[in-house]
Symmetry: C2
Subunit: 568 residues, 2 copies
């Protein structure tokens, strides 16, 4: 039966839901409203437009076959009526109408609906600081902002940029400014690591070091107090200092646009997300919502969470399109997969970090490995670092974070675990997951299987690891205390470090350990080091067998030490 | 309690099981026997040694930290006794002993065991043809063969190579000879496609075309009758012709080495694989087996299968190591993941092909898509082709095959589905699988989600597709019969083909279709074409809504047509 469907929001979820529904129900009528003048654009592409990799902003608004997704496109190609510059001001659930205001003219109009979709998206979080409204201060949330930023940079008046916030967008913008425009870029982050909340301190440190090598400066653990300048932004003042900047990007997350839903009496969570069920219905069964404005269920914690990503909007949009047409599609929840390109590195993750798992009440442990990402004999290989988070006792896998030079390979490993997470996998499942093998693409024991194996060894107590962040804390002390470092590599590798750090560094190649046991002090805490953590683990099992109880292996070994920029 | 463990076979699974067991049970004694003079090597690396990408054969026998895995290495580093050139000739299960013969001296010896591991691997299948033993005819199954092949090629006496068999090793060898040595290479295949059994005719055709562009010749559907030559191989004679060749590689699969197990009265399947349970135990609970010599359970069909891959050996080896030490580890079965690098393409798959699914009794259908593998506005992107195999009615996903220029990305998609397959996923699970998104790595609607969506549309009848193999059959006829081809792209793309093929090719841009319906014949079978299959699907829904019943969309569109080398 033909229906009248109104969709509030025409950027990501709205168009997807509209087009899917129209394909299933061609006789129905769909009106899609949006406050903005441009609709259906890929906001995730803004950093690549600012960098110049995408030359025209219209490319972000185009289909794969180069047609601009304008109201005319939606009319002719999709048979969907799009109304830009039209704000929904009220929903009357009894009368089933939406009242709108045309922003250029102020004209009000009322649209009746059989079914309504709320896809109002999110708004950049505003810091409670002075100076946010100075010219030259931008959030990265619209094509207009993107054009203004690019115009400023291309105009040549910008030499330095300060970026507040080191989440995905902040870092992508940092890359865009530094890599393509050669600007002085400083990223300011309140937490003491970049990508807080989504990756571990160790992986974040590796990514930060790589970005520093590419010229980006970081100010971690600093709180922005204000942005100053005479008639435009000139500097950012933090609790610890001043960063001069011609341009300031503030990217500290987004908040869901749920006021309209709340005013209509729909259930909205305390954190501001519209509440929906697995069919993406709100508390009113004739009203759906999805995308940045809703809360979704985290399938690892079973708790609601907010996950504002374009990919979510697309997947949820299809489910809504189905269900508008009377279908039974479900969106059971999310595991929280993400990825980001940081110069030559790909970083990605899914599920919980160790800190996130602990916050969620899990008795969790994480395992770090750094190893080559394909057969070691294959000439083109790079390092990849993986961190698997698992629950003690059950061995349940809670998350995986990763980093490496082959971004597609990094994301492939994360996606593999992301696909498993809804089924409550254990580390044994990761040990056995049947990833494809060929020397140019993987090792015979895939790095993903390996991190499962190492996690298993950690959980059973067969291996005892410390990560390089913990190693750095130890190493940077003047006095190592009762710690006794043994390098298990051959003398060609371990010897020079013994000479450089007499008394602090010791070298017993793993193959000689059984015959040189007398050199290992019984009253010290032994810290074993090798290239990647494999030989130090082997040495640990030997020492454990010989009755040494205080022995740990440095996870990821010297490869991780180097990647983290720890000076040994 | 310390045990005496004997392991027959020291190449892949044997060493893995030995080392894992020794780490768990350091006081136990492990003896590892092997017929060969060199042990613990990565046979999968042979094509890369022959190509020269791996310069020394010893690299295939080395650890990641450049130590050669010699008997001395196993003794010193692993505390495992390795006995090369020592053939196990009999197992006495009552006395629990293995009798061996030292091949250079003929000396016999008897080893008692508490637990035994059979890791005897496989042997290249021998074709029943004359000429196999001529000099210059090689199987690719040992480092000795690898050295002989490379010596022949490097010696400059080889100008042309014939390769019998187009499985993984045959094709990898073809790449090695053609890419790195510039030799004339002809691959002869009994089936009418390359990679028979593991991928679809369409994807195989795309891979073949790419290899042909790189200079490799193919003779498909030809049966080798004999290899001829005076005192060395000079030519391969098939049922259809003669291929001159200075060197012949025969790579037509392997057969499990299960004679020893059979002679000892262990259960061996009719196809020759040793039968093991989920703990990798044979019919004798004190005897384990794994790697190329066993049958494993296919988790998609629940039937036993033979999957001789180095990655299997590694994963199974760890399970055996655990269980030797009294553990409870399990290897539940396999889904059949594979990948191969073919010049600039990566190809991969998991689960069943359409043909394999039908053979296994499934009412199966496959969905082909060809699309860009990341955000289309991101400048560096390539095409990827995916083929999802699903069961009608239930929507159960049975397999995925893939091909593309970003090999790591291709393998990542396949691994993601491989991880899901043991849990009996549906196409809705693939539509919603939460792969990570960022424009440099993926599209907002990931190509994997998209193939799930398209498969869903095919299964529900919302979309009706033909793949490019079927399109080629149609197009290559002189008379198109009742088929009427409509190109749904804009006139700039469709127009030139209308001019080139008057009467055979028609162009109605999708956005104009509703207003030009009168041009669409009611009495013909409409075949819709666009760039990738998205607009033609959209056009199909429009036509279906307007009452046209005989309409199909070409899956993957012109992108797939071009990749398959179909001349339009």
């Amino acid at each position: 039966m033909p229906q009248q469907v109104v969709i509030i929001g025409a950027v990501a979820l709205g168009p997807k839901a509209a087009c899917r529904f129209k394909r299933l129900s061609p006789d129905s009528r769909v009106v899609m409203l949006d406050r903005g003048s441009r609709i259906s654009y890929g906001g995730c592409g803004i950093p690549y437009y600012v960098s110049g990799e995408v030359s025209e902003v219209s490319a972000l608004q185009s289909t794969a076959f180069h047609m601009v997704r304008s109201p005319e496109f939606f009319r002719d190609v999709k048979d969907v009526e799009a109304r830009p510059e039209t704000e929904a001001v009220a929903i009357d659930r009894e009368k089933k109408t939406v009242t709108t205001r045309h922003l250029p003219t102020g004209r009000e109009e009322t649209f009746p609906y059989d079914k309504l979709v709320i896809a109002t998206g999110s708004t950049p979080r505003r810091l409670p600081i002075p100076g946010l409204d100075l010219p030259g201060v931008y959030a990265v949330n619209s094509l207009e902002a993107a054009e203004a930023i690019k115009a400023a940079v291309a105009g040549g008046s910008v030499g330095s940029v300060a970026i507040v916030g080191s989440g995905f967008i902040g870092l992508e913008m940092a890359v865009a400014f530094a890599d393509m425009w050669g600007l002085d870029v400083t990223v300011i982050e309140l937490f003491d690591q970049i990508l807080p909340g989504v990756t571990s301190p160790t992986l974040a440190g590796m990514a930060r070091k790589h970005m520093e090598e590419k010229g980006v400066a970081f100010r971690l653990g600093e709180q922005v107090a204000r942005i100053e300048g005479d008639d435009k932004a000139e500097r950012v003042v933090t609790d610890k200092g001043v960063i001069e900047a011609d341009l300031v990007i503030v990217s500290v997350g987004v908040v869901p646009n749920s006021e309209l839903a709340k005013a209509a009496g729909l259930a909205v969570s305390p954190r501001g997300g519209i509440v929906v069920d697995e069919t993406m219905r709100t508390s009113d069964p004739d009203i759906f919502a999805g995308g940045d404005c809703v809360e979704v269920k985290n399938l690892v914690t079973s708790q609601p969470m907010f996950l504002p990503l374009g990919s979510m909007a697309n997947r949820q949009g299809r489910v809504i399109g189905d269900n508008l047409a009377g279908g039974q599609s479900r969106f059971p929840g999310v595991v929280g997969s993400w990825c980001v390109k940081l110069f030559d590195l790909g970083a990605a993750g899914t599920g919980l970090t160790l800190a996130g798992a602990k916050r969620a009440g899990f008795d969790a442990v994480s395992t770090h490995i750094t190893a080559v990402d394909r057969a070691h004999f294959y000439p083109e290989h790079g390092l990849m670092s993986l961190e698997l988070v698992a629950e003690r006792g059950t061995g349940r896998v809670l998350g995986l974070q990763a980093l490496g030079v082959n971004g597609d390979a990094v994301i492939g490993k994360v996606n593999t675990v992301a696909a498993m997470l809804p089924n409550i996998p254990t580390v044994a499942d990761v040990s056995n997951v049947e990833v494809a093998y060929s020397p140019p693409f993987a090792a015979a024991m895939d790095i993903l299987n390996t991190v499962g194996n190492v996690a298993d060894n950690i959980l059973t107590g067969q291996n005892k690891g410390i990560d390089v962040t913990e190693f750095a804390r130890l190493w940077n002390q003047d006095d190592l205390g009762d710690a006794y470092i043994i390098d298990c590599r051959e003398e060609t590798q371990g010897g020079p470090l013994v000479a450089k750090h007499p008394g602090r560094w010791h070298n017993i190649p793993q193959g000689q350990l059984r015959s040189r046991l007398s050199e290992v002090p019984k009253d010290k805490r032994i810290v074993l080091m090798c290239n990647t953590g494999a030989r130090s683990y082997e040495a640990l099992t030997t020492l454990a067998h010989m009755g040494f109880e205080q022995v740990v292996s440095v996870e990821g070994g010297m490869a991780a030490v180097a990647a983290a920029g720890i000076d040994v």
